[in-house]
Structure formats: C-alpha cells, structure tokens
Assembly symmetry: D2
C-alpha cells in the first residue's frame, strides 16, 4: 500500500477522533474519570458506537482491516485531545492479541470474547512485575493432579484488572504447554473461587485502573484454555510489539498535548512585560521540544509501518525496540519542560500538564522498561553489520 493511501486512512481516523472527542471528552470529564479510576460504562459504550468502534474490533469480526499505523495514530490523537491516558486503547490492545489467533478454529473464541456486549471484555494478566516485559520470567504456574487442573501465582499491572469480567492469564504449564515451550494461556473468569484483585494506586494513568491479581489454587475449566498450537511464542512476540506501539503512540499524543499547552501559555502569558515566547531561554526549550516531537513521531510511524509491512520479524522487532527505547522517556522529559513553563500552576490540577507529566511517566515502564530495549537493539545492529560487512 502506498504511503499516500495510508496517510488518507490516517487522516480519516483523525477526523473520527476529533468528532468523538468534541462530543465526549472534556477536561472536566477527564478529571472525574481520574477520580473514579475509570470511564463510565455509558461513555465506554459510546466509543464502540462511534466510528471508532470498528478500530477496536478484529477484521474477523468486521473490524478495520488496514495498516497498524492507523490504529496507532488513533491512539495518539485520542491522548492528545484528552491530555491523559484514556483507557480505550486497552481494548485495542486485547484485540491486537486476538488478531494473532488467526486460525479458523479460533473464530468461535473471538466471538465468545466479544459476545456479551460487543466489547473486547477481558484484561491481560501477563506481567509479574519484573523489569522486563517478556515471557521468560513468568512463575505463575498451572499444575495438574487427581482433583483437576489448578492455577497459582500473582500478576500485576493488569490494566482494567478489576473491571473486566475475565482475564487472560499466561502461565508456566508443563502439561498443556508442551508445544509452546512450557507455557499456556487461559481465560479465567474473575468470579472464580481463589481469584483476588487488588487495585494499584499508581501515581498517574488512573483511568487505566491497573490491578494486581492473585490466583490461589484456582480450579481451571479445560474450556478456558486458548488453543495456541505451538504458536504462543510468536503470538506473544507480536503482542509485545503492538503493545509497545500503543504505549509509544499514547506517549506521543501526551507530548503533543503538553506542547499545545506550552505554546498556548507562551503566546498568552507575560512576565515583566515580555511574552514568554520572546525570551530566548524559553525559545530554546520550545525548539528542543519541537525536535523531540518530530523524532518521536518518526519513531512511532516507522515502527507502526514496519509491523504491517513485509519487513523481517527481526527488523520489525528492531523498529519497535528503537521506538520504545526513546519515546516514553522523551515524552516525560518534554512534559516536565512544559510543566515548568507554567510555573507553580503547572504543579497543580489547575493545568493539565501536571497530569500529562504523571501519565507519561508510567509508559517508561509499561510493556517493558525502556532500558530493556538496548540489548536487542545492539544485537540486531551488530548482527546486521556482521552480515553486510558495511552498513553502507
């Protein structure tokens, strides 16, 4: 597909986001949703009912069937409007996982996932709180005995973990996971005995409502198992890539929101008779911020285009790692500069940059700490160099 036609699709979805936000998103609502740690059910439904709904659904169920960049830019635009981490992309992230279940036999599962209310209504219980978001350090375990199959362990930073009625659990599993390197995937109802949820009081991103989930000898129904047929590793790998793009697109949108606010402040506010925008120290800040946003946009776009292209998997992973290594940290830094331009007000809820700054910070950890990317970046480059002899 040509870049021009992709850009057309991006422009279209941006128009839909602008329409949706004009009607449904306001600073007052965002503040309330942060306090209530979640968007109301009615507002959530509105998202699905709007033109944006089909970007939440997998192609198999009639959802948007185009390049991933379009979904990434949807998320960036949403966050830019709100100046906050809205929770909608959490479903898009779950949908991304479903779309990796491409096998015909998975179709009924997908339909089941979305049947009750047309929503992707499950949370993802993958992370166990270490520094890296990867599947190699999982210790939650599935075991079997005469009484049945049981799940024991603890997951953390499960977005929407308290509110979704089911959660998708990744576990060590020597019985069912033989074809998948000793891991299996289960969709567990939260109403089961032995499932406990605890909200996490994060210092930002309140609307995502992350929770810790404890599984204390939960008896598993074989029907809950997702058939992965040896493809689990590849599924997870792709899921981490898409998850990282969503997180970085969100960071980009937050950074743009902070820039918008900083520009407005600089254009209106005077100190000792001079507009902020005319002070060279402020100009340097704005110039640095402008460069950073351009670089962030480029890294997100490159990665999002890559995962829909015929780039090799190694190249796709490289593009995502490069993006995650840089974007979330740069966004927090930029938000902090914007906050500073507001002076004391920037440190209160009277300006939304205070929230943007806090929300940005979480993305430096989500989907794998930024620092964890450097290894795969360096290895890819050195390997590529060794093969081609010259990077030229």
């Amino acid at each position: 597909m040509s870049e021009a036609s992709i850009q057309e699709m991006v422009d279209e979805v941006i128009g839909y986001v602008d329409d949706f936000c004009a009607e449904h998103i306001s600073e007052e609502r965002v503040k309330n949703w942060c306090v209530s740690r979640g968007v109301s059910t009615a507002e959530y439904a509105a998202f699905y009912e709007s033109e944006l709904g089909r970007y939440c659904m997998p192609p198999a169920l009639g959802g948007f069937d185009g390049p991933f960049l379009v979904r990434a830019m949807l998320v960036a635009r949403l966050m830019r409007h709100a100046g906050a981490m809205l929770p909608y992309h959490s479903d898009m992230n779950s949908m991304a996982l479903l779309s990796t279940l491409s096998d015909q036999s998975q179709r009924e599962i997908i339909e089941d996932f979305t049947a009750s209310d047309g929503r992707i209504s499950f949370s993802q219980a993958f992370s166990e709180g270490g520094l890296g978001a990867d599947s190699s350090s999982i210790i939650t375990e599935v075991t079997s005995d005469l009484d049945g199959v049981f799940l024991d362990g603890e997951k953390t930073f499960v977005a929407n973990g308290q509110f979704a009625s089911r959660t998708l659990v990744l576990a060590q599993d020597m019985v069912h996971g033989i074809e998948d390197g000793g891991q299996s995937l289960w969709l567990v109802p939260l109403s089961e005995a032995g499932v406990y949820t605890y909200p996490l009081n994060t210092v930002g991103q309140e609307m995502l409502a992350p929770a810790r989930l404890v599984f204390d000898h939960v008896k598993l129904d074989p029907m809950w198992r997702i058939q992965t047929e040896g493809r689990l590793g590849a599924m997870l790998e792709r899921q981490y890539m898409l998850g990282r793009i969503y997180v970085c697109a969100a960071s980009l949108g937050l950074a743009q929101a902070a820039m918008d606010d900083a520009l407005e402040r600089c254009a209106r506010y005077r100190t000792r008779g001079r507009y902020l925008s005319s002070i060279s120290q402020i100009q340097v800040k704005l110039a640095n911020m402008a460069v950073e946003i351009r670089s962030m946009e480029n890294l997100v776009t490159k990665a999002a285009l890559s995962v829909s292209s015929d780039d090799s998997l190694s190249e796709q992973k490289y593009n995502c790692a490069l993006m995650k290594h840089y974007v979330p940290g740069a966004a927090t830094q930029l938000a902090s500069e914007a906050l500073q331009i507001f002076g004391g007000m920037g440190y209160t809820d009277e300006s939304r940059v205070s929230r943007i700054w806090r929300d940005c910070r979480g993305n430096q950890i989500a989907q794998g700490a930024d620092e964890m990317m450097s290894r795969s970046i360096a290895r890819h480059r050195v390997k590529e160099y060794a093969f081609t002899k010259k990077n030229l």
Copy 2:
C-alpha cells in the same frame, strides 16, 4: 567558627532528627498525612517539644544561635527519613524571616507571632504565581481612602495557607512603603472579611498544603503592619536566600532517600537470576546518582555556609543561585532513575519513590524557578571576572 565545630553541631542535630523520626515518623503516618494534607496538631506540637523545637525559634526567643548550615542539614535529614516533604520547615522558613527583623523594636512583634502556642504560626503570602520568586512583579496592592486602608489582590502557593491563622502579605503600597521602594508588609488574620482561601491540588508535597489566598478589599488595621524602616528589600533578599537553601536541603534529603531505596532494591532484587547490582547498566545509573548526590551536598553546604559567613552579599546570592539552579532538578532526575529501578512498583504507592519523585518536582518551582537563577549567576561571574581580569 571552624568547619570542625560546625560539623559537630551538624552531627548533634542529625542525632536529634534521628531520635525524633524513630519515634514520630513512619511510612504509614506519612501516607496518612498526605491524604489528610497536613500533619496532625499533636504531631506538630511534638516537633516543638522535641530537641528540634529550638531550631524553629529565632535566637531572640531562645532559639538555636549558630550557623545556618545546621538548620539546613536538619531539614535534609528530616526529608531523608520521611522520603517526603514534611511541613516542619515551613515554620523554620517563617522564623528565618523573623530573624531578619533584628531591630529591638521588632521584639514584641516576634513575641506576638509566637505567643499563642509557642509556634511560628503564620503563613507567607509573597508569590503571585509568575515564574520568578522575586518582589518586582507584585501587583497585590494597599490603597487608602477616607474609609481606611484596604488590601486587594491574590497570592498563590502559600504553604500552610489554609491552616495558619494569620498570613504575612507583601503588597504594593504607595502610602506606607515610601521608605521601602513602594512596598509594605502586613500580618493579616485569615478571619477578616474579604479574605478567601482555596486549597491547591498539587501533584505532590501534599503535607505542605499550599493555598491560594484572595484579598477582596480587606480593611487593614494599622497595627498589623510590620515596621520595616527601609530594610524591606534587604529582608526579602535574605529571605529568598534562606528559603532557597531550605528547598534545596529538602531536595537533597529526598534524593538521598531515593538513593537509599535504590540501593536496597539493588541489593535484594534479582532479575533472571542476577542481582540488579551486578548489571552494568544499573551500575552506571547508581554511579551517576552517587556523583549527583555528592554534587548536591556540596552546593547546599557551600550556600548554607556562605549565608552565615562574612562573604559579601553578592557572593552569598551567587552561592544560593548556583545551588538552586542545579539541585532541585538533579533531585527529580535522580528520583526518577530510582523509580525506574523499581519497575512497575515504583509507579505505585507501594514504593515511596513514587512520592519522592512527585515531591521533588515541586522544588524546581518553589522559591523561584530553577531557570530564573542563570541570569544572576552569569552576571556575577562576568562582573567578578571583569574586576579581577583573571579568574585565577
């Protein structure tokens, strides 16, 4: 006074802080105080009753009469124990202002200030929310007419602004301020008609409980006026220096607390079988943090020693500006690095670094945005250079 004997006094006060904190400060209490946006009256009284009480009082009332470094290190130590901006130094800051009212005629005022309960019970309504903490951009005004003398205007970031019964207001004043460049100082009871207080929802430093104060044609009693006799400019200048030292000492203490937590985490936590402390990427972070803390300590110490020394006023201001230019920003940066070492937990209230990070951020704005220091630093250096021809 020799450095050795100053160090002895510092060691003594650190012992007092350690004793006080062992008895009165715990993570649970700090969390509660943050929620309630203030320390309970009983706990506040305990501070005055402890050995630390006399460091809150001016020498004229029997308070500690030694180098300012001792008070600064008291504040740093307190914050290090709590891993939070405790509010006690707010009174120390008010006391610092009183101690500049050295004239005999002011003695009764001081006694009056502290009479009710032995505490320095007033807030300081100086800042009007611009980027610079200086007195040149004040627009709150005192006017006179046949009906009396009136105060109109708005002050912001008044620490403890809702809870102190009186507030000290700096205002433009063409009538009483003739000797003081058109400014005057008034101690206004909050109970007066026309005084309105609004809490500020800051993203950190909750225990300081900053407020916005609005004065809507408040009728002033001449008795409330502080006699400054042409010394107001000098008083404010010194007050900003001492205020900046307190803020930076607090940032230093918070940074040390973040370092303590990071070291504990690195010493105990393993990822993929390796202690964090053995990973070279983490080692680089710890090394950078160690350098930053040493530099912060040095800048705070130099500034605090300077204001008690026979350095010229210009030299004292330079030392304070240098410190404020660097310390608060470095502390936030360091806290953010420590937070990252905790992974997802660092972003929740399950680790105190999340609070340290938020609390640090406010000090980059308090007492004059860090950026505002560069002008006076550069001017001092260029001027000094021009005089001495060679810096050598």
Copy 3:
C-alpha cells in the same frame, strides 16, 4: 513527485557515490588530503568527470534537475564513505547559490562562472565571524567616490578561500544596493590589489581549507557586480537553507561513519574475554546512537524534501531550523561516544573516529550556530499555534 520516485533517484545517486568512492576515496588519501589541506586538482576533476559531476551543475547548464533531497543524500553518502568532510560539496553549495539566479539575464554569468574548467570555481565570502550566519550583521562595505567604487572589510570562514580564483562578496552598499536593502554582491578576483588571504588553522575539516579574506580598499570593476534586482534577500534566505541542509547531511554521513566503525569495533574486539557488543553498558550506547541516527536522518530528509516542495517559505525555514538545531550537535556527541568505544586508539589517527569527531564539531558552527535556530523555531510554532488555535 511521489516519495517512491524520489527514493529511486536517491538510490541511483548512492550507487554513483559508492562507485566513485570505491575508485577515488581511501583512508590513506583522506589522511594525505587533510595534511595538504585540500584535494589534488586531478582528484577534484575526477569528481566532475564521474556520474556525480552533473549534481554539481545547475539545471540551466545541464545539471541534475530534481529534488534537493537527492543532492543532500549524495553529500551524506560521500562523508560516510570518507569519514571526513570532503570538499566537493563546497562547489555544490556555490551551485545552489547560482541556481537562485534564475533570471535569463544571469545565464551568461553562470556560464562565465563555470567556463574556465567546467567547475564552479568561486568561494563565498559571506560570514564575518559572529555567532549568527545571517546577512544582518555585515559590515564589509562598498563605497564610491571620484576615484571609483571600493570594497573594504574582512570575511572569515571562506571555504576554499585561498584556492578559488574568485570570491563572491556580500557587502553593505548604499549606492548599488538600493533595491536590495542596502546590500550588494560582487565577484572579486583574488589577484586584485588589496585582497589578502590568510589560512585558518581549524581543528578539523582540513580539506575545506577555510580562510580569512581581507579587502583593503579594493577597486571594484562594475562588471563584477551580480545583478540581483531586489531579489538578494530572498536569494540569501534560500542559500542559507540549502547550506544548512548540506552541512547537516554531511553531519549525518559522519555520524553514520562513526556508527559503522563502532559496530565493527564491538563485533570484533573483546575485553576480558567478552565481546564489547555483549556488555550492557556498551549496548546502551549503541542503542542511543541508533536512535540518534534515525532522528538525524528524519530531520535531514524532512528539510530537504521541504525545500523542493510547495511548502510555504515559512514552513521550509522551520524545517531547516529544526534540523540545524539538532543534527550537528547530535553528530558530534555520537562521534564522541564512538571514539570512546575505541579506547586510547580512538584518540589517535590510528582510528578515523578521531577525525570524524573533530570534523563534526565544526558543523555546529557552520551556516549559523545551532543555538541561533531556536528563536525562529519558537516564533514559527507560536505563530502557527496562534493562527490555528489548536495544533491538532
């Protein structure tokens, strides 16, 4: 023109550069040319005779007539091969100036410029050594009296200033410059009485052989004047844009060369039995470098595309300023990191990174110090924001 067809042209020119460099550029030659402060005449001619020659000529004389990005990528590729600032783009820069003389009446001048040996054989005497490369601070002056028209002043950083037989001088001129805001442009032979040239011993970029030119009451022949007809300001504005793109493309190429060398080093060199590429501290460096190169590429590409597009002039200038604000400094920083990876050898001429590092540094000043860009960036953004109300 579509991006795909531009990319095709870029790929073609890169092939030509690779061919040219395989035959004409080697580390040994580059070292020699640095010592002799210039490429030999024969080698210079080879450039014009190769496929690359037509990228040095303006379209009016049969030169390449396509998007500027192609020329920019030619320069980047050249520098990447050489790991040094080759001097060829100096003629391309002069040619860029000529191509702004689009008027029919200028054709003969262009032909005259290139007649002698088919080369663009003149240097540009614009800069007078201040921090900004702009025309507002020029003090070299043209005056008239009964004896004729005279030029007095001093220009510096004239690339190739000693070796070109003629130099193009920008001067204040109240007589001829009426239509051009009091400035005029003269092509002065270096053989004239009163013209003195002094080589500048730069700490890098030796092949560019910059010189200082002094004009001591040089009598001007009216024939030497370039007819600008009120378009001088616009000509210079465009010239600075193109000049900045060449400088940044060169920095990009140098950074890529440093990255190539660093990767080679990391892939081959072991310390205490471990390959450098497996040490996490080194991996972080490589990851940072990879991000920076991607951002540099993007900024250069965006700016180079912009000057050939129908973007508004203001947008074109913004894109160039953003690029110049970031790229040269990032390149030096990256080269320094690469140098460090080589240890002691990186600090000697046994590795070319030592030269890359020195050459990069000069580009932070050339064509306007990087710092000078922030004003125009901030003004553009604030103005754009004010017009659109929302950046969205």
Copy 4:
C-alpha cells in the same frame, strides 16, 4: 591536619605556579611546544629549578612531604594557566609511583632514577590499550630460558615514551612474579636491542608525546628488576588512584581555563549590539558551566584529601572512582560549550579553547575510561549499604 592548614599549603603552591607561569608559560610557547610535541629541555629544567621542583621529588629525596591535594592543585593551576596539558605532571606521576616504594631497600633505586639530571627520568609502560586501565589484562610477558630472561609485548599510550631514556614495564612473569600474583616490574633502557618506539598521533595533548613501545625479545638484566616483595598489587592500586587524581586535576584546570576564556568573550563581545553576557541563552550556558566547575572542584578535592587521610582503602578508591566517572567528561563538555561561545574562531587555533577541548577529550580515556568506574562505585555503595542497613 586541619583543612585550614592544608588550604594554606595549597595557596602557597598556587603562588609558586603563578610565578612560574608568568615567567615561563605563554600562549606562543604552548603553541610551539604542541608543534614540537614536547617542552624543550631547558624549559623542563626550569620547572625543576623553580619552587615547583620539590613537588616533583619524593619525600625521601627532599621532596614536598604533605597532603596529596597540594600536588593536585598544583597540576590544576598549571593547566589553567596554559590552557593545555603541560607535560610536567608526567614526572609527578612517576614520582607518585616511586613514593609507593617506601621500603628502605628501594632508596638506592629512587636515587638511581633521579641521579643523572635530578629528574624523574623514566616513562611508565603499563597500558596495553584496552578500555580499562588495570593490571588484569596485561599480556606483555617475561620468560626465561637457558639464554636468559626476555621481555616480549607491546605497550601503548606511554607518555613521554620516546623521550625518556628508560621505561618502567609491567609484565606477566611466572618466574619472578610469584609473590606478586604473577607480575613483575622492570626498568628497561630504551637503547636496548629489541625496543622500538612509535609516536602516537593523538588529536590533542601533543606535549605529552605518547608513544607505543614494542618489546621484541628484549634481554633483561636482573639489575633492572624492581623489588616489589608482594606489594606490587597494592602499589599499582595506589598508583591508579593518584594517576586518576592528576588526570582529573588537569581536567579541572582545563575547564577553568575554558571558563576564563568564555567569561572574557562574554564580557567583551557584542552581537547585534548586545553583549553576549546579557543574552539569556548564553547566561544559561554560563550558569551550567559554573555549576559544573564547582562540582568538579569538589570531586577532585574530596578524592585528593581522601588518599592522604585515614580513610579505608575501599573509601579512597570510591572517592577516586566517583571523581574519574564524572570530571573528565564534564570538562570536555564544558570546553565544547566555551568553544561554541567563540563561534567560528573557537574552531581555530586563534582561540585556545579549540586546544582545550581537544586536550580534555583525552582525559576521558587516560588512566581508565570514565565508564570503567561505574562498577566499582556501584559495588562499594551497595556493599556499604548492606553493612549499615541504612545509609543514614
């Protein structure tokens, strides 16, 4: 010893340096010495004959017998005057090594070292060019057979390696090194058969004239062996500490010189009618530089005091590592900022900042790359933390 009396000694030596430099050091001479890659013998002798001579000699031979800080500040002051790496501290570094040979039996060796002309006339052939300056990666080897004892290997970055008549070689040695972990130390005359020296063309620090030395089966005279009696490891450890302090003191002096030049430039130079010192963007640079110099001074002072104190060896090493981790890199960065303030002239030999910048860069590698320090810093801190439970 009290800090006051140490400061007195420092002030005294600074006076001596000022006197020496007034007479012997000028920009013209420094430029010439850089070209000739070394100070003339006469000028070198003048150093020994001045008051500074005794700071080059070990106490055992009547040299200065006081805290190491005094020697460090001597070096910093010298470099500040010259704005360049003068070579004198190379002898001081050799002397530092001698002073670790405290045993009575070594006295004659010391006298021998200095006998010929009263100078410490030997170079140190320790480094083999890896990233770390430590003794664990040495592969130069001493072997024995029926024909005698032989030395084979290659050393690099030997300061003064071509000019000193003898060089002190550290080698693997299974025969003589039994008590010293398999290493031994030999003082080899350069006139011996099989010794080859090659100058290194460094991009700065020309006066230090570093060389590569190749030992091709050099027959060793047993008399050349330095008796280390099991103390070699401790000797080398101390030598690296002192060497790092000298390097960082030199960087500090260079940074101060760059600051001096920047201040002079800012005080005199105007752009568009405004003094540089009045532009807020420049003020920010100067403020950052002022902070950095203060932090550098503090780190060097703390480390230099530590090695003369009763701090534990572990504490001494920590202080030196902290200093080396930060100071040389900060100095280069500062020199680069100063260079930028000079615009184009800063990139030529018309300003000495261009040399300061190049000279600073080398110190980031000398005596162990800055990056190599982070491991020991982190380990020290984590260990210390583990022992004290709380850093408080």
